[in-house]
């Protein structure tokens, strides 16, 4: 490694982070980012601030990082997506500007991933647990998406009358097509790793515990043909473009819709937030995924028994 690169990586690794842990592999010039936002592994403003700082450092040290790898340090959870408590706060405060700011922060992270090939960086993500809403949106722009078999994912926002507003439509359509994007976003259902693979949203499904080996394999297979791969990926974004303006336009709609959520929708959001906390404490297996299944079941029972599609008061 040359001297300027050494200075760059030292500075990059030495920043004091609270929610991310960085590891460096000089052999492959790979930066590994492990996220840990306890007790709810979600995209809080502070966590996104740290991620943005890492990404800016990578961009400022052009040519230093060739592989960017993201994983979660929280067992059983990759990411629960948006900071639901913050959403409740901002919606109750009728704060349009802060909701839009939150959306923009998310889009900025996605946009970095979308344009990483132009920076000479290949991106890989390993999902080893539940990833919901914004959590799933955040993995879609990665060049290589690896899921362990037991991981589950979906866009549950429609269950509380919202929708995933930070890239879900753009990236799901690009990777899987309109019909599948419609099905996933409008149903709010959860999907297995295999189903997501069949939909071409995931590139590799490996058995539980094999994720680390899969990362290694993915990096080693792409490394010898990195320049060609990155050039091809840049061409891909010309062939099937996703624009920053389009992403932000959807954020505007998401913001406006958020301010129309009712008290019942917010209570359901709080119920999911509580379930997310339960997953993070006492090592309980019951978490947000199980709560979403209960909500789906409640709704199905309600329709079957009474024909009423509204939920009972929460």
């Amino acid at each position: 490694m040359s001297a300027p690169e050494s200075i760059g990586i030292a500075a990059l690794l030495s920043r004091p982070y609270k929610y991310v842990r960085l590891e460096w592999s000089s052999e492959l010039s790979a930066l590994r980012v492990r996220t840990c936002v306890t007790p709810i592994q979600c995209y809080s403003l502070s966590a996104m601030g740290e991620l943005q700082r890492v990404l800016l450092d990578v961009a400022d040290n052009a040519g230093l990082v060739k592989h960017f790898v993201m994983t979660s340090d929280v067992p059983g959870v990759f990411n629960f997506g948006g900071d639901l408590s913050l959403f409740v706060l901002l919606i109750r405060a009728r704060d349009h500007e802060s909701l839009r700011l939150y959306g923009r922060r998310c889009v900025d992270l996605l946009w970095w991933m979308e344009t990483a090939a132009q920076l000479g960086v290949h991106t890989t993500v390993l999902v080893q647990g539940d990833t919901l809403g914004g959590g799933l949106e955040s993995v879609l722009p990665f060049h290589k998406v690896i899921f362990e078999r037991s991981a589950q994912a979906g866009f549950p926002e429609v269950l509380f009358n919202s929708f995933p507003g930070m890239g879900a439509w753009n990236f799901t359509i690009r990777k899987a097509g309109f019909a599948i994007a419609n099905e996933m976003i409008l149903s709010g259902k959860l999907y297995t790793a295999q189903q997501l693979y069949d939909y071409h949203l995931v590139d590799m499904v490996v058995d539980d515990g094999q994720g680390e080996e899969a990362i290694e394999e993915a990096l080693r297979s792409v490394h010898p043909r990195l320049r060609g791969t990155l050039a091809a990926l840049q061409a891909r974004s010309v062939a099937a473009p996703v624009t920053y303006e389009s992403l932000m336009s959807i954020v505007e709609r998401w913001t406006a819709n958020s301010l129309n959520l009712t008290e019942r929708d917010l209570k359901l959001m709080e119920r999911l937030a509580r379930a997310q906390v339960r997953k993070g404490t006492r090592g309980m297996s019951e978490g947000a995924v199980e709560e979403i299944k209960k909500v789906e079941l409640d709704r199905a029972w309600g329709e079957e028994r009474t024909g009423i599609t509204e939920w009972a008061p929460l």
Binding site: S44, V88, L89, R92, A93, E97, E263, K267, R274, V277
Partner: protein, 214 residues
């Protein structure tokens, strides 16, 4: 960027520190055993009892430059008047008499929380009281609902019996949050904004310690 958005960003860490404190996490996820819930309400009684005097101290020191904030405080004090009675009712519903409540000695954490707010209104800037209001309303509007639901489930309480203070504030403070956002956005002086942000951070810190000490 308006000041409320700035507040959200600058105090996000402090809010998350409250939200992620193990005692708070446990309480929101699973509720609380009865003795600890009684202690929490006794602590909250103290905080609620001092809320209006702190607002009054601030209102009396606010210059005409911030007349809008002063009127906001008048209105808010009127709305909050008598809410300590709700805490008292909840305590009686879960087996603690008024006499026992009045004999309760607030923790150093609760005393420090109130003490800071009196001091900040007097020596920092009277508008810093908006920081106290922000914290209490965020806690009520965002965490009050799930917490009261968890307490009800855990203690098998019927309707709002024993949780009326928490439940009603969760709904009431949703309206207050909007009003608070509007009044915060009227504060444009950076030095005053800084004292409000400081107050929010201290209030989150102290109330986290009130919970943690229970």
């Amino acid at each position: 960027m308006n000041f409320f958005t700035d507040v959200i960003e600058r105090t996000d860490e402090a809010r998350r520190a409250f939200e992620t404190n193990p005692v708070v996490v446990e309480a929101v996820a699973h509720g609380m055993e009865i003795q600890r819930y009684r202690t929490l309400l006794c602590e909250l009684y103290h905080v609620v009892w001092h809320f209006n005097p702190i607002c009054a101290a601030a209102a009396s020191r606010i210059t005409d430059e911030f007349a809008g904030v002063r009127y906001f405080l008048y209105q808010h004090m009127h709305e909050e008047m008598g809410h300590e009675q709700w805490v008292l009712n909840d305590l009686e519903a879960i087996g603690l008499s008024k006499r026992q409540l009045l004999e309760y000695q607030p923790s150093p954490q609760a005393l420090a929380l109130c003490g800071f707010n009196y001091w900040a209104a007097d020596r920092r800037h009277p508008c810093s009281v908006l920081g106290m209001m922000y914290v209490l309303e965020v806690i009520a509007a965002v965490y009050g609902g799930p917490f009261s639901a968890a307490v009800k489930e855990g203690l098998l309480l019927q309707n709002d019996r024993g949780t009326s203070f928490l439940s009603s504030h969760a709904t009431l403070d949703a309206v207050h949050m909007t009003e608070l956002r509007e009044i915060l956005n009227q504060v444009t002086l950076h030095e005053v904004q800084d004292t409000i942000v400081e107050s929010i951070c201290v209030n989150f810190h102290q109330i986290t310690h009130v919970f943690a000490a229970i």
